[in-house]
Symmetry: C2
Subunit: 308 residues, 2 copies
């Protein structure tokens, strides 16, 4: 596929997506949000050699991930994704073929989540491949869930299992869009974030923006098999991987104790477990607590991203 | 300014912009559109060495232009700009200082047009500087103006004077946001586009998407001084520059004959003239017409963009 053929393909795809709620492709896309909803917007730029390595990862998975990380951000607000705007800077050699594969990965995930590809900008570059996706979503009738709403005494929960994502899951993860919407519908969520920089860092954002801190039980942290494998590999603890590894793209959220108990009992998310990992405290910072009530500050050693 | 200082500056700016209608900065920005309005979204990516040359153009003007071209696209829909999302890939050396200047240019124009910088993504690259801006706007109560609404018999008008933009105006042009809104309020605009690829190409989009063609009077095309200077330089005609040069970022629009006459008489745009250049025809294509009624097909030789 030549670059020109690719640009035509993209234009055709945009026109095909120009259905309600996305209006006709023109100088700008017109997107009709549902009555009374707010727009939710996130953007993410990925650079070859910094965020991915095309000698190791297929362009299709790179495209998929470029959309998936944005979907995860929309999920973190408990909002519905609506329309994606895709800009690429393509290397002058082989850019057309690369673009075709990138967009195959984007289109597949977009279709799965009912997201219209509503606009884009295709350019050339002498440098590495760059892809930027801006995702427009809309709040539900219940409004967005922010990071800043956690209250002392709230239970802290996460979806799925944590750590070791860089062994592969960071390319194939399912953004928790449906899960976030279902939780938002069933519960009164106080605060939520997606785990992109690691549990300790991201839960840190919640407690900093809400005021207070969090007390965690080490034995409650759901550790993925990949975290165990990574621990066996590098000699660090599996719990450290679960706490610090980036790119899990699971949800971390807080809600009232009683609601949390009900949620844990019901386990309403299809194929994804919710785990209680701790409690929001008045005291700032993140703490481990043991059975005898002793508390020990959690030391965070930063986080890892793909190639970063 | 280090890159970290820049990221803090950007975060502070985003928080400062987190006023109505832009909600709290979180995993995604929440933007409240006015009641009953539709979202209008455009995105544009610029690459160093392809779209601009930092040895000739200051990063401040590059930042300004990156936002200005998006503002021009929102203007073309007769919509109001609301919030900008700015992604950059910064070269590893000197990226912080570069970013500061880029954003100074963006912030100045954003302030001038009441646009919130509501989100962004800062990254590093081994390659050239890349900047992507996605601009979110909202339709007015009268809805968007599309390319596809031109009707046979419509007058074709443009704002300002055309051609020779690459001598400098492409970096400093005023996007015609206010002008488009005022025209949309006062007249029933049938079709509109901004002139980014040259009058012939862009008016071509209007007639292709509307069906039909356009008959122009050569003596009516407003030729800029820069087009005359460019013609003196390269020996091509000034009219050819006015017709084919890219990046004028003026508006081209169509409306009923009677309304056009009133508009030309009133000249309601402060400091910007509106010119009647021709008429929409049933016959496809673009044509020159002379006083004696003879028609001659307009041959388009493509267009020029900065460095492109």
């Amino acid at each position: 596929m030549s670059e020109l053929e690719f640009i035509r393909w993209l234009r055709d795809r945009i026109v095909a997506d120009a259905r309600v709620p996305v209006g006709p492709g023109d100088d700008a896309a017109v997107v009709r949000l549902a009555e009374g909803r707010e727009a939710v917007v996130t953007t993410d730029l990925m650079v070859e050699g910094v965020h991915f390595d095309l000698t190791k990862t297929s362009p299709r998975l790179v495209g998929r991930k470029a959309l998936a990380v944005n979907l995860s951000d929309i999920a973190a607000m408990a909002a519905e994704p609506v329309a994606a705007f895709v800009s690429v800077a393509l290397p002058k050699n082989g850019g057309g073929e690369l673009a075709r594969e990138l967009f195959a990965g984007i289109a597949e995930l977009a279709d799965e989540f009912g997201v219209a590809i509503a606009g884009g900008d295709t350019n050339r570059t002498d440098g590495p491949l760059v892809i930027n996706i801006t995702l427009l979503g809309q709040t539900t009738q219940r409004g967005p869930v922010l990071r800043s709403g956690a209250r002392p005494g709230d239970a802290v929960l996460v979806t799925g299992e944590l750590g070791g994502s860089l062994a592969g899951r960071h390319l194939t993860f399912q953004p928790r869009v449906r899960e976030a919407l279902l939780l938002h519908e069933r519960c009164e969520l106080h605060a939520m974030i997606d785990l992109s920089d690691g549990l300790a860092t991201d839960l840190g954002h919640i407690v900093e923006e809400s005021g207070g801190g969090a007390v965690l039980r080490a034995e409650s942290i759901p550790i993925s098999e990949a975290a165990v494998a990574a621990a066996n590999e590098d000699g660090r603890g599996a719990i450290e991987h679960a706490l610090c590894d980036g790119e899990d793209f699971e949800l971390c959220f807080t809600l009232a104790e009683a609601e949390a108990k009900r949620l844990i009992d019901e386990q309403p998310l299809e194929g994804v477990a919710v785990h209680r990992i701790g409690t929001i405290s008045r005291e700032a910072g993140l703490w481990w607590e043991t059975d005898d009530g002793t508390r020990r500050k959690i030391m965070v050693k930063g986080y890892e991203h793909a190639l970063d």
